[in-house]
């Protein structure tokens, strides 16, 4: 009797171990989270709080990030140049102190730039949106940039010197990126506005989601992390690794789509297909009928 009881106990404990062991692993991983410097939360994605941090001698963060994306602060040597450029190109609307108070004293018409972080300033200038062609437009379109990349960094450096903030200028490393994960994340997070083929489209009123066909990789990260104009700012729900996967998908499949079926028809989908089917397909065949048949 006792031996069988012991056997039963042994079997029971083995089963209990098998059931509870994975659970305990799960519990420990859940409770252990939150204390590593790499943890991304809803608020700190793209900031030094989530990453390995490099500081200079005076203790200022100059670089942080991970193997997916490195964020680098613009050089402080550019601050003087940046202020000059800002006064020349930006101050008429954003004010000489970048606080959104224009030269004539009105405030509230233009955004206050203080504390927005270098990536925001760099994105707007380097994508040609600022200085704006039409300051009253609801949304500024992408244009050929008026300032060079270094000048954009200089302006970002000066604005950031007023009230240091994040995110810094990102440099994605696409070497180990997973394009399939990027495609899935793109469909989930981006396609609802930018369309699944990345062409962009008109949104409510005068706003629009721009086309993603010709965008440098670092600007994709800047846009995701800073949320320019109507775009939401994606922070906690996308880790740097996921952002890198999206960037990989955008810079490969969106910018160079695979069209093995022939002409891509502008990626406009059934609108273009309908026009081709009706005008070319039915049109040519009607002309053929006109050619073959009697025309009296």
């Amino acid at each position: 009797m006792t031996t069988s009881l012991i056997k039963r106990l042994g079997a029971f404990s083995a089963v209990a171990f098998l059931v509870l062991a994975p659970l305990s692993v799960f519990v420990s991983s859940a409770s252990g989270a939150g204390h590593t410097p790499y943890q991304t939360t809803r608020k700190n994605a793209g900031t030094p709080n989530s990453s390995v941090v490099v500081k200079n001698k005076s203790g200022v963060v100059i670089s942080y990030g991970n193997s997916a994306i490195m964020y680098n602060a613009p050089s402080s040597k550019l601050v003087t140049l940046g202020q000059a450029l800002f006064l020349e190109n930006c101050a008429s609307c954003h004010g000489v102190e970048a606080n959104g108070v224009a030269a004539n004293g009105t405030s509230g018409a233009y955004p206050n730039l203080v504390g927005l972080g270098p990536a925001t300033i760099d994105f707007w200038i380097d994508s040609g949106r600022m200085p704006a062609a039409d300051p009253r437009a609801v949304e500024a379109p992408r244009r050929t940039p008026r300032l060079t990349p270094v000048q954009a960094l200089a302006v970002a450096a000066w604005v950031n010197s007023l009230l240091p903030s994040y995110p810094d200028i990102p440099t994605p490393n696409l070497k180990n990126a997973n394009v399939a994960d990027g495609a899935a994340l793109f469909a989930l997070n981006c396609a609802a506005c930018h369309t699944i083929e990345g062409d962009g489209d008109a949104l409510a009123e005068d706003t629009f989601a721009p086309s993603l066909r010709k965008i440098p990789a670092f600007q994709v990260v800047e846009a995701i992390r800073t949320g320019p104009a109507n775009m939401p700012r994606f922070t906690g729900n996308l880790s740097d690794y996921q952002v890198r996967d999206i960037v990989k998908y955008v810079t490969t499949e969106i910018e160079h789509p695979q069209n093995p079926g022939g002409l891509g028809l502008g990626g406009l989908g059934p609108v273009a297909e309908g026009f081709v089917g009706l005008l070319l397909g039915v049109g040519i065949l009607a002309l053929v009928a006109f050619w073959v048949g009697e025309r009296q």
């Binding site: 059934p270 081709v276 397909g281």
Partner: protein, 514 residues
């Protein structure tokens, strides 16, 4: 009177008749099946030659292309919503969890030889099929070919158009990609919006709540068997009625309500129409080879949580989508029930009305004009200004709705506000019929007044008088239209059945009647 053929080469050749071996084969067939008489009248059938009568043939031959390419696709397509992990040649999808329907469509595009070509030809020929049906229908409408005795064929054609649109939508949904899944979602919502029975109908059709797991298998069997089966029968009925009632013709020299002027089925029409079949196939193959359609690998699989902006249906569903987009958001909430008028009216009541009026049009016109005569001669559209203007008004409204289904694309392309486009479309869809009607009516009336309008221009004959004056006058008739050509020629009846002979021919001999 029968003769026994002597056993010489020339006599044997003569005995075979002018058609040689073919004649022998036909004789053998006639002996068994009695095809000579029917075949004779079939081959002598006269078809008018006007080019616009060939628009329906584009539809017929596109249907053939659709069926042939469709059979190829069913060999590789798997109608299942079971989840599999995609490991194929398209790397951006590698490792993604997708349905078997999506995976098999991507695989048949990339891994099956000629698979992508067949898929694209199938899709292009569908666009061409329905497009040519609409153009054919417009021809029939504007020339009055639907009048008595052809009202039934008008209804059959309209049913074919409806079924083709439905089947096009079903087929578009089968790959289970992101864009088509959104379409199924909209279709499900439209079914739900039907008052009282909507939820029951939706659960009945989709086998439960959306998306479920039985949509794709059900759509598949509808798409490849049930709807095409009905369509095939209706195409047969359409052709048979055309054959039985004979084709209409435009009025002209020597053409009356009681005759048909044109080319015989054999050999002229048959050669022409066979060539046309090849040309339709050729144009479809060119489009399939050089123009990409529905690149589902760029869209990815459908998941209810994912959505893409700028999603349009195929062009033949666009008028419905356009109506849905521009209709104001009205709905009724009371007594614990909701009736979403913003869906019910544009997507259920409006198409019902549109097709209802189209079905009833021959009867309505007969009642309105009190014209109960048989009509085998067609109208010149400008001679029926009210009908032409009404048709133009409906086409104007449908074209606006067609454009309205791409409000976002228009707004993005021309950099204008989406709201502006939306309101423009709302105004246009109401205004355009009332603009198109009077303009068309006026043009028709003007054209009626043109001297010699609707008739072929005849050459000018310039004469010089003895005083040196030049006088131009138009020739009385075009050289090709001389009535001498229209005299019916006697049809030689080579394959008539031999007269009843009481005496029995000797074995091996052939009775020859010239």
């Amino acid at each position: 009177m029968s003769i026994t053929v002597p056993n010489t080469k020339r006599a044997k050749q003569a005995a075979k008749g002018p058609y040689g071996h073919l004649g022998t084969v036909l004789n053998e067939l006639d002996d068994r099946l009695g095809v000579a008489e029917g075949g004779r009248s079939f081959m002598d059938k006269i078809f008018p030659d006007h080019w616009s009568f060939m628009l329906g043939e584009i539809a017929l031959y596109s249907f053939v292309v659709i069926m042939v390419t469709g059979v190829f696709l069913t060999l590789y397509y798997i109608p299942s919503q079971a989840l599999v992990t995609y490991h194929g040649s398209y790397l951006p999808l590698d490792g993604m969890r997708v349905t078997e329907a999506f995976a098999s469509t991507v695989n048949l595009s990339f891994a099956v030889r000629a698979g992508l070509l067949m898929r694209q030809m199938h899709h292009w020929s569908c666009d061409i099929f329905i497009g040519s049906m609409v153009v054919h229908m417009a021809r029939v409408f504007f020339t009055g070919a639907f009048r008595k005795p052809r009202e039934l064929n008008w209804s059959i054609g309209l049913t074919l158009l409806t079924l083709a649109i439905v089947n096009g939508f079903l087929g578009y949904s089968l790959p289970d990609d992101l864009v088509s899944g959104t379409g199924i979602r909209i279709a499900y919502s439209i079914v739900l919006s039907i008052p009282l029975v909507g939820t029951y109908l939706g659960f009945f059709a989709f086998g439960g709540n959306f998306p479920g797991t039985s949509v794709i298998p059900r759509f598949f069997i509808m798409h490849v068997l049930i709807v095409p089966g009905i369509m095939l029968g209706l195409v047969g009925a359409h052709m048979f009625l055309l054959y039985r009632q004979k084709h209409t013709q435009f009025p002209g020299e020597g053409r009356t309500e009681k005759n048909v002027v044109g080319s015989p089925m054999f050999p002229v029409f048959m050669a022409k129409t066979t060539g046309f079949l090849l040309l339709v196939t050729g144009v479809t193959a060119l489009l399939g080879a050089f123009a990409q359609i529905n690149p589902i690998w760029q869209f990815g699989p459908y998941e209810a949580s994912r959505i893409s902006y700028a999603v349009q249906p195929d062009w033949y569903m666009a008028f419905l989508d356009g109506m849905l987009r521009i209709f104001p958001a009205w709905s009724f909430h009371s007594f614990g029930y909701t009736i979403p008028f913003e869906v019910t009216i544009p997507a259920v009541i409006f198409p019902g009305l549109l097709f209802g009026v189209a079905y009833a049009w021959p009867t309505l016109e007969r009642l309105f004009t009190k014209d109960n005569e048989m009509h085998n001669l067609l109208d010149r559209p400008s001679n029926r200004p009210k009908r032409t203007a009404a048709g133009a008004a409906v086409l104007a409204m449908l074209s606006t709705l067609f454009l309205a289904s791409s409000t976002d694309v228009i707004a993005n392309f021309f950099h204008i506000s989406l709201t502006t486009v939306l309101w423009s479309m709302r105004v246009l869809v109401l205004v355009s019929p009332f603009v198109a009607y009077p303009i068309t009516y006026k043009i028709c009336k003007e054209m009626q007044g043109i001297k010699g309008g609707g008739k072929r221009k005849t050459p000018n004959v310039v004469t010089r008088t003895e005083e040196g004056e030049y006088l131009a006058s138009s020739a009385p008739v075009y050289v090709d239209d001389l009535p001498s050509e229209l005299e019916p020629t006697e049809v030689p009846r080579y394959i008539t059945s031999p007269p009843k002979e009481p005496d029995v021919a000797e074995p091996g001999a052939r009775i020859v009647e010239r």
